[in-house]
Amino acid sequence: MWWGAIGTGPFAVDKFTPPQSVSLKRNDDYWGEKAILETASYLASSRAETRALLAESGDADLVFNLDPSGFAHLKTVDSVAVSADAIPRVVSLKLNASHKFLDDARARQALSMAINRQGIATAITRFPEASATQLFPPVLSEWHDDDLKPLTNDVEAAKKLLADLGWKAGDDGILTRNGERFKLLLRTFPDRPELPLIATALQSQWGEIGVELEVSVSSYSEIPKGHKDGSLEVALFARNYGLTPDPIGTTLADFGKGGGDWGAMGWDNAKVAEALDKISQTSDAAVRTENIAIVTKALQDELPLIPVVWYQHTVSVAKDLKGYVVDPLERNYGLSKVSWGK
């Protein structure tokens, strides 16, 4: 075989058929607490319908990432328990703040006010309580700031802000300034099925304030590429701020000096960069709190990224499976702790 799985975990690879499945058997020589299950197998299924059916029939005991309709249906199935847990992943819009339409913070604020987050969270992602009021969700308790003025939906105020910036509605309702139409291209990708849907909702909501949005659904690699060559205008994606145990790893890369492929673009805030540097260099809680407040306030006021909805990690677990715990960082399936029981 071309591969060799070298590891020291509670399970060892038994059979590996990329890209679709892995079979595991318990590693009896494991140095730590040994797993309870003898074997486990993973099956990658790219269709949400199939995943829901696998859960319902009992073929799969643990199923991750259900679509909204599958999640609603599985709630009515007796043999499984479904859960939706807040995780530090956020659906947001990345704006090119050096673009001539977007270089004024007021323009970005207007675009943010035009978004009906409650509507998107209710109709598309179907967790109304997860409509974002700021970038960092409550699950990132150190970074979520209850004192921040929440982002709101106010179409009239948005129109006024844009009018202040010199935009006037043309014959077809689209804003123009100095003979240029307010037209933007949004890049997103289909790997997370809700993203193209949210993109079309945004298309219609921004249309109400006279902003014409064209949506391009392609590979997600187009986003870092557009960041690099400067061609990106707007991007929609879901970013996990829990990729590193301390979110400072991700936030420093995204909002530090020069911004980041999946973070700020054309937006440099010296105070934020300095605060992030301080946070990364200390474990002193007071210093961290003080500097995190500087960062979150600046992000909320200047909106280099416009948060849309916070993410819920949906899981279906067979009722007889005990000991399963959701990992909010999406890195561990927790198989070593689960067992079959009454």
Binding site: P19, Q20, L43, L53, S57, D59, K228, A238
Partner: protein
């Protein structure tokens, strides 16, 4: 011997065809991948690392590692050079040898296609023959309606309906996966129903045509019973267009069942090819296209040989 020489010349012809196919497919697929928009290094990095991990820096590492900044001609020549040594190279995304990927993916595709075809014949032959024996009768009209129904529903919907009926509610078969023979039943049946919808009509037409042919009247006149005529003459004559049609179907099946593979989480070459194209995995695209091209040649050869066996007229050199 006349028969033997026809056989060997057919074989030699197909072998020459295979070489031409290999070279043309390799060059054309390479050229098409080059013509696609987007930066290959970024796409490959996306396929390798996922959206949480990939960024411009990882794309640049990929570009350096795979030599994507080399002239196009150099890249193509290096592929052709490896090909003559029967080395298909390594996947740009997973790093595994293409030959291993093909063994898994093509093997599963062939299994599914074969099972689907078998399933379709089990349905289509009895239905088609019965309908063709009495064209315009109630069974013919009923099977026509059923055929239109199954042809009109997308394979995806048939698959989900079968899963609901035979897996979720009755628990007869597993929903998805590819561990054992029980996993093969539902995807094969889904395929078989869609295929039988058309092939049952082809069989019906062939049988009804044979039934009204003059040679059939002759065989009855010379005293053969209706049953003997059916077995000895009608089915043999009707088989020719059917075998040719089934051959075409099989070729389509092997690469055209991406949707069914996705619904049933079944690994397959169609799936692999689509992913390889999205991921700009050029060696994988070339390897897959090459395998499919050669498979067409082999299938054509097999169909030729079967038709040879059925139809004695073909064995005589004109």
């Amino acid at each position: 011997m006349v028969q033997g020489s026809v056989f060997w010349s057919a074989l030699a012809g197909r072998a020459a065809q295979a070489v031409v196919v290999a070279v043309v497919v390799g060059i054309v697929s390479f050229a098409m991948m080059q013509a696609l928009p987007g930066d290959a290094a970024y796409r490959i990095a996306a396929g390798r690392y996922g959206y949480d991990m990939m960024d411009a820096a990882s794309a640049n590492l990929v570009r350096a590692e795979l030599g994507l900044d080399q002239p196009v001609l150099v890249q193509l020549m290096s592929w052709l050079g490896s090909l003559v040594q029967f080395d298909l190279g390594k996947s740009a995304v997973s790093g595994s040898p293409i030959i291993d990927e093909l063994k898994t993916q093509l093997g599963h595709s062939l299994l599914l296609a074969g099972a689907g075809l078998l399933m379709s014949l089990l349905i289509a032959i009895p239905v088609g023959v019965m309908a063709g024996l009495k064209p315009g009768g109630w069974f013919d009209r009923f099977s026509m309606a059923a055929s239109i129904f199954f042809r009109a529903i997308p394979a995806f919907a048939i698959g989900v309906l079968l899963i609901l009926g035979l897996a979720v509610h009755t628990k007869l078969f597993p929903v998805a996966g590819f561990k054992g023979p029980e996993h093969l039943v539902l995807p094969a049946l889904t395929l078989g129903l869609g295929l039988a919808a058309v092939s049952s009509r082809v069989i019906r037409d062939a049988v009804s045509e044979a039934m009204s042919a003059e040679w059939r009247l002759f065989s009855r006149t010379k005293g053969l019973s209706s049953k003997l005529t059916l077995w000895r003459h009608v089915l043999r004559n009707a088989a020719l267009p059917v075998v040719a049609y089934v051959g075409v179907q099989l070729a389509y099946l092997i690469e055209g069942v991406v949707i069914i593979e996705t619904v049933f989480a079944w690994p397959g070459i169609g799936h692999a090819l689509v992913h390889a194209i999205f991921g700009r995995d050029v060696p994988m695209v070339q390897g897959t296209a090459l395998a499919l091209g050669l498979l067409y040649v082999v299938l054509n050869l097999i169909i030729d040989l079967i038709c040879h066996g059925i139809d004695p007229r073909r064995r005589v050199k004109v």
